[in-house]
């Protein structure tokens, strides 16, 4: 069957999930030397009415299929021809809903090894997005003026970066713990303030810190209580005392044997099917 490779035309492909979207394709290669190229599928970032997004409307370009060797810097450089780039963020998956971005510590949450990623490119002006949508390419990630490291070069420099700076780590830990201690102190102070003070409806909150500590409200603790109850009851019960109990336990034994017999037969059937009874 004849096959033809071409970038996706700007009309909706059949069977595509709604809302219809169009993704122009921009060829991208690592460098001059490569013959074949990957394709970036780009689109102006937009969200459904009513939902909020971390990315500014109109000025953000959403890019799919960013190859693993393409860094944020190189993407920024490649797209700067369309207009001034304010920021580039690479992510493993597209943002589904609004999620607050927290600054991640490089000590405690090291960056994962990149695969194919998605990017949000924020231009300073909306014109950047439209220029990018019309980009023809092919884009080259690594050029002579801006070489990008890969392979051995990259691993050696990654290794050098991974050698930790204990001082920086210490500073980060201290800052975090100071903030944490402060938060805990505040919470405790608040709890102490509320201790024994009824709320608007007159309820008093009982905490573990009170003068008479109560059972912690955990699942394990409640299970423990139940288990203790059950054991207490079991101790009082008589076993094999009445005739019916005796009969029942015999019947139970027989039922066990029957069940075992069925299981065994099933096992044998399986072994027979696998010809496991051929001794040699």
């Amino acid at each position: 069957e004849p096959m033809e490779r071409r970038p996706l035309p700007p009309h909706d492909p059949p069977g595509h999930p709604s809302p219809p979207i169009s993704f122009p394709a921009i060829p991208i290669k690592f460098s001059e030397k490569q013959q074949a190229s990957h394709y970036l599928y780009v689109r102006a970032h937009g969200v459904r009415q009513g939902t909020k997004s971390t990315w500014p409307q109109k000025r953000t370009l959403f890019v799919l299929n960013v190859p693993p060797y393409c860094t944020e810097e190189s993407l920024s450089r490649l797209l700067s021809s369309c207009g001034l780039v304010q920021s580039v963020e690479l992510q493993e998956k597209p943002d589904l809903a609004e999620s607050p971005k927290e600054s991640r510590s490089k000590f405690f949450h090291p960056k994962p090894v990149p695969g194919f990623q998605v990017a949000y490119v924020v231009f300073q002006k909306p014109s950047g997005v439209s220029a990018a949508l019309a980009l023809k390419g092919p884009l080259l990630v690594s050029t002579e003026s801006h070489p990008v490291k890969s392979g051995i070069h990259k691993w050696i420099s990654d290794y050098a970066d991974s050698v930790p700076d204990p001082e920086a780590l210490r500073v980060e830990v201290d800052t975090f713990m100071e903030a944490y201690d402060q938060k805990i102190a505040e919470e405790e102070a608040k709890a102490k303030e509320e201790e024994g003070v009824p709320d608007e409806e007159g309820w008093v909150k009982v905490t573990r810190r009170g003068r008479r500590p109560v059972l912690p409200r955990t699942e394990a603790a409640s299970l423990r209580v139940l288990e203790r109850e059950r054991r207490k009851r079991a101790r009082k019960e008589l076993l094999n005392f009445y005739a019916w109990q005796h009969r029942e336990s015999k019947m139970e034994h027989l039922a066990q044997l029957r069940k075992k017999f069925e299981e065994d037969k099933q096992r044998i059937e399986l072994l027979r099917a696998q010809r496991k009874f051929r001794p040699y």
Binding site: E4, L8, N65, E262, L270, F277
Partner: protein, 1146 residues
């Protein structure tokens, strides 16, 4: 047997088990139930997966019928469980001959009978005049010396009788042999035919004539000769039908003398019937001393006279008792699985049948017993009775003219007399063979007593070939050397007795010599029994030296393998001379620490692997010294696989010593940690969590001594960095150590905060270790790397409540419950389960010194097959541990070689779908718990990983196989193991030497779609490759400690970094396979599903492109670009990317 009435009652029922079962099934009233039962039975074979049994309440609790109760009780009394009963019945069905086939065999036998009696007679000639024999047939006997008195003529047999197991119904498939006795007419024989092989000559001529005539008959597909039970004086004629039944049956014709022809008193073990004057052409010693007795010769004559009486005895005793026949059939299977029944001196089916008769006659077996009970009783008898010391007899007569048992013990090693009291049934059985039988019986009894659920499988269904059962084997090749050995050992009377068969003659003395020499190192010595060859009637019988090679199996005692010393008597003792004579020039006088001066032999062995091979030195030395068998003829197979786990340039050790050095260094470090001052919380426990610390790292670490010129120093962080212009530096993997701190309420109760506090501990630890002990340290948020004596340890501080904090979930009502999360499971695995496992396996190594070698060979092999990534280190270690903890039906391996073979066997035969592999570390699981685990496993099968390994610490989840392998990868491993095992066993059993032992370690590469070849310059472990390169690159190490005290480059392995990138980027599209031990090639397999065109979706664009196909726009992998990506991502490391595009289309 218990109360007789019970037995009487059950008698009828055992006879017809086939009738019993439908009766039980038929107890259901309505047809609906029967169909539901059918469904539960029919389903599993379709999927090959056991389902939990679902029976309705009504079915479970209905009133039992009498038959059902009877059946249940019978099962309880006669078998140990219903499963065993069903299994035994199935097995018997499988090996028993069907009625249809019996009819065909009977028809063939009638034809044979008719033809045999019609063979024409020939006129009488001298025995030495054999010109009358037609050209196409040779006499099936070595006629040495040729000259012998007497005349021969052929007359058709006076009687043709079927003897042996066929009539009894105890013969088992697949080799059905029917023995037919041909009674030679009295006219053929003469008075003194018992003398000087005359009878055997006539017997052979008789067969030759028969063979010539029968060979012309179109009824037979093949007519050839073979030795009866391997005895070189007694050929028999084998007849097989022509056409499709050729493999169905072999009829063996045995000529025998007319009854009462030989006078039994002349064939007693003390009598001589082969005269020295005739045999050697000289009288013995010339001084008139008596002729040596010829007990074996006499026995072989006697055997021919007793064929019919034995049959009669067997049929009266076993005839009507189905249980006894079943028992004999089971025993035959048992013997055959252990290769005990074949060849000369084998423990044949006939012998066990007679043994059953003996036990019936001594009331140890009752005729109402089930086959299983008979098996058990016979094994019990064998296990506890040493027939080499206390012979037994079936003879009830108290005739004083009969010889005493002691006479037989003098002449034979094993004594079991038949009912005549004159014939030793075990005449050819050597002491070694009997001891092997005893040993096997003892093992089997322990197994049966342990009430293991799979006893049947292990006892009757698992083959125990010599190479897999014995730690070391050795081949004597060529066999002709044994002739010289016989002369050296002065075994002339034995040769005379054995008709010149020097292999049989030498066997006994040889094994005794080696058993004595190996002493405490040896648990059991077994020899292969020369196989019984067949040959065409136009060929001369095979020579003794042609019967292949003699193979000895050594089962070693691990505790005996540690000593290099053979301590002899004190020099002034009279035994000293004997000791010197036994050990020859290796014996020397030595002064010991206690002042004693003793004879002693000291073997050269420094490392554990060399000590394991001391038996090799002992064997070659003793054989050369006492039997003139030179070292070149002794092919000792004990350590050829050692080469695969030997470190670079360390051919003398398989690494146990290097591992011990690392473990020692770890012990020192843990002492330092315990004694550390200034930590806010003191260290409460230090636990190893790395393969090195449980002795299972394939290539043990060596102390690192970096050459500073090879690296880029990063002084401010006191670390070394790899340099671009140099080859990749040596790979150093830090050994993980988990460090627990004393409990404290001061820890924060928030996951993020706990991480920060832990990081603070890591920093503090590094500081203190540097200050107090001058160790080079480097702390990160999760661990502290410590350089100690050239070894690098990675200390992870653990807070025992952290997994719990990660698990806590608060419900809206404020109730806190614990739910496993990926992070909590991961942390629990690394800080709790891994240290426990490491210490348990460390303990196992102390108990079984071969464990390290086995586990490492196993891992080496799996990784060499490029499958290492899919199996965690721990899972393979546990499989290896299972070989030691659950060795049945073997004993724990004492050499890496045999352990590795059993690893391959286990992997290739274990039914992972329906069974968890239970590894009962420290024997913590009770039998009941194991049963519970098994049923829990069946119920939860679909949620469990494909490979489930259960340990006492991990009863439900199989943590070490959670993330792999996939079913396909496991299947691939099973297939590879099933291919490797027979190949390797064949190599090791080849008497001319194993050849290239690395063959089974080389992976098949033709299955991959793309091969990425890597440059050795950047493979740090290049020299660990299966085919170790002759030259590799310098890795920046010094042989002596250098001035650099900076932290070496840690965990830098470009191929691994490359693979991580590949898997991250293309893991959806392809699988990547690589041998971490110096592999030069990465195999890539496209996932078949990923090539299916898919609709455009924002989440699945990775590495794909849009294409128009049939007018529709779809996404397919951008293969050309991906292939170029392979090269881009691995720039510098990748040499070529070979796409085998013929294997796939987009």
């Amino acid at each position: 047997m218990g109360p007789a009435p019970t037995g009487e009652q059950l008698c009828g029922a055992i006879g017809e088990p086939e009738v019993m079962e439908p009766a039980l099934e038929g107890t259901g009233k309505e047809g609906k139930k029967a169909s539901s039962r059918k469904r539960t039975l029919a389903e599993p074979p379709a999927k090959g997966l056991l389902q939990p049994v679902k029976l309705s309440r009504a079915e479970l609790y209905k009133e039992p019928t009498n038959e059902e109760l009877n059946h249940l009780r019978e099962t309880e009394i006669l078998f140990h469980s219903s499963l065993l009963r069903l299994q035994v019945e199935e097995l018997l069905k499988e090996v028993r001959l069907s009625e249809k086939k019996k009819d065909r065999i009977d028809a063939f036998l009638r034809e044979v009978n008719q033809r045999v009696v019609r063979v024409p007679s020939v006129p009488e000639t001298e025995l030495t005049d054999q010109a009358w024999l037609p050209a196409g047939v040779r006499v099936p006997l070595h006629q040495v010396p040729y000259a012998v008195k007497g005349c021969f003529r052929f007359l058709p047999p006076a009687q043709v009788t079927v003897v042996g197991s066929y009539l009894l119904g105890t013969c088992i498939r697949p080799d059905i042999n029917v023995d037919v006795a041909l009674t030679m007419p009295r006219e053929i024989l003469q008075d003194k035919d018992g003398l000087n092989q005359r009878y055997f000559r006539k017997r052979a001529l008789y067969l030759a004539h028969l063979a010539h005539h029968l060979a012309q008959d179109p009824l037979f597909g093949s007519v050839c000769f073979s030795y009866t039970n391997g005895c070189h004086l007694k050929p028999s004629l084998l007849l097989r039908p022509r056409g499709k039944d050729e493999r169905l049956v072999t009829v063996r014709l045995h000529p025998c003398p007319p009854p009462d022809f030989f006078r039994p008193c002349r064939l007693l073990p003390t009598k001589n019937n082969v005269r020295s004057a005739w045999y050697r052409g000289q009288s013995p010693a010339g001084d008139g001393s008596p002729e040596p007795p010829t007990p074996h010769y006499n026995t072989w004559v006697l055997q021919d006279t007793a064929l019919e009486s034995h049959l009669q005895l067997l049929s009266t005793m076993l005839g009507s008792a189905q249980g006894l026949k079943d028992g004999v059939a089971l025993l035959k299977v048992w013997l055959r699985q252990r290769e005990l029944d074949k060849g000369q001196g084998g423990f044949t089916g006939f012998l066990v049948s007679m043994l059953v008769v003996f036990l019936v006659s001594t009331h140890k077996i009752h005729t109402t017993m089930s086959g299983y009970q008979v098996l058990r009783s016979v094994l019990q008898f064998l296990a506890t009775t040493d027939l080499t010391v206390n012979g037994i007899s079936l003879c009830l007569s108290s005739d004083p003219s009969l010889p005493a048992l002691a006479d037989f013990h003098q002449a034979f090693s094993v004594v079991f007399l038949d009912s005549s009291g004159r014939l030793n049934l075990c005449a050819d059985v050597t002491a070694s063979t009997y001891h092997q039988v005893q040993y096997e019986a003892r093992l089997s009894m322990t197994l049966l007593d342990s009430r293991a659920d799979d006893g049947f499988q292990l006892l009757l269904m698992t083959p125990k070939p010599m190479i897999r059962a014995f730690d070391h084997v050795l081949h004597l090749h060529p066999l002709s050397r044994l002739q010289a050995a016989c002369h050296r050992l002065k075994l002339w009377p034995e040769l005379q007795d054995n008709g010149g068969d020097y292999v049989s003659a030498a066997l006994g003395p040889l094994t005794t010599l080696l058993e004595q020499g190996l002493g405490t190192r040896l648990k059991l010595l077994a020899h292969s029994r020369p196989p019984v060859p067949e040959w065409g009637i136009s060929q001369d019988p095979p020579k003794h030296k042609d019967s292949g090679s003699l193979t000895l199996g050594l089962l070693l005692r691990p505790e005996g393998l540690t000593s290099v010393l053979e301590l002899g008597p004190e020099a002034d003792q009279p035994e000293a001379a004997k000791f010197r004579q036994f050990w020859g020039f290796r014996s020397e006088l030595r002064r010991f620490q206690d002042g004693a001066i003793r004879e002693a032999v000291v073997w050269e062995a420094a490392s554990m692997s060399q000590k394991r091979l001391i038996p090799h030195q002992v064997v070659t030395h003793l054989l050369a010294l006492h039997t003139d068998i030179p070292e070149t003829c002794v092919h000792y197979v004990g350590g050829p696989l050692d080469a695969l786990i030997q470190g670079l340039k360390q051919t003398s050790s398989t690494g146990e010593e290097a591992l011990a050095v690392a473990v020692c260094c770890y012990d020192d470090l843990s002492r330092l940690l315990w004694g550390l001052e200034g930590l806010p919380l003191t260290v409460s426990a230090v636990q190893g969590a790395h393969p090195v610390l449980r002795y299972t790292e394939v290539f043990p670490p060596t102390p690192v001594r970096p050459a500073s010129s090879f690296y880029e120093p990063l002084q401010e962080r006191s670390s070394l960095l790899p340099r671009l212009d140099k080859p990749c530096p040596a790979y150093v993997e830090p050994m993980t150590v988990v460090c627990h701190l004393e409990g404290s309420g001061q820890w924060p109760q928030d996951a993020e905060a706990v991480q920060r506090v832990r990081a603070a501990f890591q920093l503090r630890l590094a500081e203190l270790l540097t200050q107090q002990h001058g160790l080079q340290c480097r702390a990160t948020a999760t661990h502290t790397d410590v350089l100690k004596d050239g070894f690098v340890f990675r200390i992870r501080v653990a807070y025992q409540r952290e997994p719990q904090i990660l698990k806590e979930v608060q419900s809206p009502e404020g109730m806190i419950s614990l739910r496993d999360t990926p992070a909590s499971l991961h942390l629990e695995r690394d800080t709790r389960q891994l240290p426990l496992l490491t210490s348990a396996l460390h303990g196992l190594q102390q108990q079984h010194p071969a464990f390290s070698g086995v586990a490492r060979l196993a891992k080496r092999w799996v990784r060499a097959q490029l499958l290492g990534e899919d199996f965690t280190d721990e899972s393979l270690d546990l499989v290896a541990a299972a070989l030691f903890l659950h060795p049945e039906p073997f004993t724990p391996p004492s050499s890496p070689q045999v352990g590795f073979l059993r690893f391959l066997y286990l992997v290739s035969t274990f039914d992972w779908k329906n069974n968890p592999l239970i590894v009962n570390l420290n024997n913590e699981l009770t039998v009941e718990e194991q049963v519970e685990i098994r049923s829990g496993f069946l119920a939860a099968r679909t949620q469990l990983p494909v490979m489930v390994i259960v340990t006492p610490q991990d009863r439900k989840h199989s943590v070490w196989t959670q993330d792999g392998p996939s079913a396909q990868i496991l299947q691939q491993l099973v297939v590879l193991a099933a291919e490797a095992l027979p190949m390797l066993e064949k190599q090791l059993m080849d008497p001319r030497g194993p050849g290239d032992i690395r063959t089974v370690f080389r992976p098949p590469l033709d299955i991959y779609d793309v091969l990425i070849r890597l440059s050795p310059r950047h493979i740090p472990r290049h020299r660990q490759a299966v085919d170790s390169p002759a030259a590799s690159f310098c890795r920046g190490l010094l042989s002596q400690p250098g001035p650099s005290s900076l932290m070496p480059v840690l965990g830098y392995d470009p191929p691994q970094l490359y693979l991580m990138q590949l898997r991250e980027a293309f893991g959806d599209l392809a699988l990547f396979f690589y041998d971490q031990h110096g592999g030069e090639v990465i195999g890539v397999l496209w996932k078949p599903t990923s090539f299916q065109p898919q609709p455009f979706k924002a989440s699945s664009t990775k590495g794909r492109m849009v294409m128009s196909r049939g007018g529709e726009l779809v996404m397919v992998p951008n293969v050309e670009a991906i292939l170029e990506d392979f090269a881009v991502l691995g720039e510098g490391l990748v040499q070529t990317v070979e796409a085998r595009s013929e294997r796939w289309t987009v």
